[in-house]
Amino acid sequence: MATQHSRAAARLMISPAVILLLAWMLIPLGLTIYFSVLRYNLLMPGDNPFVGLENYEFFFTDPAFTGAVWNTVMLVVGVLIITVVGGTMLALLLNQPMFGQGIVRILVIAPFFVMPTVSALVWKNMFMNPVNGLFAHLAKGLGFEAFDFLSTVPLLSIILIVSWQWLPFATLILLTAFQSLDSEQLEAAEMDGATGVARFWYIMLPHLARAITVVILIQTIFLLSIFAEILVTTSGGPGTASTNLTYLIYAQSLLQFDVGLGSAGGVFAIILANIVAIFLMRMIGKNLDL
């Protein structure tokens, strides 16, 4: 199905999307690159002189920079591990025969619908608060001292909150994958003498590969720019213990209003995102045969 006619039509029909996305990418990106070589602070209006790579120098030598890159990676990897492993186990469980499966599925999927700001607020105040939070009540009820999640293990706390939001997503996709697994395959493996663990490892897991790839791709896209959860719970602290790149750029461009510096950070983040993107696309390309 490829005539000149239809090829021309195809080009015509894809062009609005391409043009819009290109504009959406290039215009802000161009401005960001432009701003990144200016001394441009919103609070100090003036002629915004050209300063070359000074902003980049300041961005890369920012004491929080290394930590922010590390935190970004930890956040993405941590949530991915928890949601993929947890999601696989949960999906395996939900795939078993039980009463009220539909309702359990509704319960499990619910966190995905919750606004990130709301979930961060609820977790921070009603659960992790060391004085009035439910966890504190629970710890005291059991005779332990209340644990101060957000100042003692800030990054881990955020990982937990974000994992709670994304676990349903992983579970649902993996559950669907399990349900599409041909039961004859499993029976054949059983005839071949494979134990439960072996069946999981050699039959189910390879079958899940595509689904897991999708989970990783989609989640990474969203996790790289996690922001609301950090802003609401820890504001990147204590210190810079839970500052990721997004939050660092936010702090520079919207708390210090140093647009030049923030833009330099933005350019770096864009480059980083594209490196991750290329890496992911390779993986997807292999597993999704697009």
Binding site: P130, V131, N132, D148, T152, G237, P238, T240, A251, Q256
Partner: protein, 437 residues
């Protein structure tokens, strides 16, 4: 630009995307989500009774978000707001940039001379008032009279840090969930930095010397921060590194704190039986000193300013005049009682015999009067501001340093490290900004 906006609006209404059409003039007001502001919002109907042709839209945001939103908007002339809630830090800087409308034609009955001098000074640039104070505040000690009595302690009217330290440790009962003292620990230049800078003043520390060289390597800062961290670790509530004004208010209201050093404006909330479980057991004292002649109290006024370039300047002025007028104070007194009027802005309020009956009235006035933004600390400084430094770079530096102090409080780094980092950060930013100028 408004034309384009209304054009876009018209186009939008054709596609069912527009806001409901209104004939009245609309002003959009950005406020902080604290008690007095929310009360003001609740009284919108009263304003509308006087000005039926003005429709008021409220944008109520948490302090940090508000600050970010309004600063972005005013600096880019975004024109989204007609009235902004800003503080004594922003007003002089913004006015100097020409971002604010001068309030030099307020009606005669507004009685500009009635405003407390220290507050009014902070909002005046070149003899013109650029924002009208909605409420003014200093800081002071709030304490639980019942707990002090039970422990056999007596709070002096003007306590020293030594006394506060001693009392706090004595009053702490961690099993009973009573903590000797609650202080700000949440990072932010309006949060822990405000408290710590004011405290540091009483220890004789300063941000910069006369050559704009950062002074975090000084002994005075070390004493301040060490005292603060030791005190909080031994007598503070858990999680204090993420407690700001509002979190501490909640703790104090639920009876978890024996002492709380914070904004004077909190007094009306902790003594309000509707919200506070300890309303009838609260005493007040001046912020502590360390025998150096300066007290650790700050000076702040949440004020209403009008961004230059608003297309509803007249309506906005009407609102600002109304919300900061004497009549507004009476209106709130009438509805909610004198204890709940926005404090700290007008001399006439403190002269009012009704208001003098309010337990914290005199202490608030004394605290405000004792703060001196021009000479905040023991040694001379090149800047203005008690708990802030009125230069544009301050926000950025203080945000970063606030995080360091917060990390020290959370036990992730030592006080020495925090101060070292603070010194490096401050030097770096000042170098970037080109100081000394």
């Amino acid at each position: 630009m408004r034309f384009i906006k209304s054009l876009a609006g018209a186009a939008a209404s054709a596609t069912l995307l527009a806001a409901p059409m209104t004939l009245a003039e609309t002003i959009t007001i950005a406020t902080v989500n604290n008690g007095d502001m929310i009360r003001m919002q609740g009284l919108t109907a009263e304003f509308n009774a006087l000005h039926p042709d003005i429709e008021v839209n409220w944008v109520t945001l948490e302090e940090n978000v508000l600050r970010q939103r309004v600063t972005t908007d005013v600096a880019t002339q975004g024109g989204q707001y007609d009235v902004m809630t800003i503080g004594t830090y922003e007003v002089p800087i913004w006015a100097a940039q020409g971002w604010l409308v001068a309030l030099d034609d307020l009606p005669a009955d507004y009685d500009i001379d009635d405003l407390l001098p220290s507050i009014r000074d902070g909002l005046t640039v070149d003899g013109k008032l650029y924002a009208a104070p909605f409420y003014g505040e200093s800081s002071m000690v709030m304490y639980r009279t019942d707990l002090f009595e039970a422990a056999g302690l007596e709070m002096p009217a003007a306590p020293s840090w030594d006394f506060i330290n001693e009392a706090a440790r004595k009053l702490t009962d961690k099993d009973g969930e009573i903590y000797g003292i609650c202080l700000r620990g949440k990072a932010g230049w309006g949060e822990n930095i405000a408290f710590l800078t004011a405290t540091a003043n009483s220890y004789g520390a300063r941000w910069f010397d006369e050559e704009w060289k950062p002074q975090f390597d000084s002994d005075a800062w070390k004493q301040t921060l060490t005292m603060y961290i030791d005190l909080m670790q031994e007598a503070g509530p858990p999680g204090s590194a993420s407690n700001g004004f509002n979190e501490n208010l909640a703790l104090f209201q639920t009876g978890k704190c024996a002492m709380w050093i914070d904004a004077t404006v909190a007094a009306s909330f902790v003594t309000n039986p509707k919200d506070s479980q300890v309303a009838d057991k609260v005493g007040f004292a001046l912020a502590p000193d360390n025998g150096l002649g300066k007290r650790g109290n700050w000076l702040w006024a949440w004020s209403l300013g009008i961004p230059a370039g608003t297309d509803s300047e007249e309506a906005a002025k009407k609102f600002v005049a109304w919300a900061t007028s004497k009549a507004y104070l009476e209106l709130v007194a009438d509805k909610e009682g004198w204890a709940n009027v926005p404090p700290g802005t007008r001399a006439s309020l403190y002269a009012n015999p009704e208001y003098q009956k309010v337990p914290f009235a005199q202490m608030t006035l004394d605290s405000i009067s004792s703060a001196d933004p021009k000479n905040p600390t023991v040694d001379p400084v090149p800047y203005v501001g008690v708990q802030f430094v009125a230069i544009p770079e301050f926000q950025g530096i203080a945000t970063a340093i606030g995080q360091q102090f917060s990390a020290a409080l959370a036990g992730q780094i030592t006080a020495e490290q925090a101060l070292q980092n603070a010194q490096v950060l401050a030097e770096r930013e000042m170098r970037r900004a080109g100081y000394p100028k």
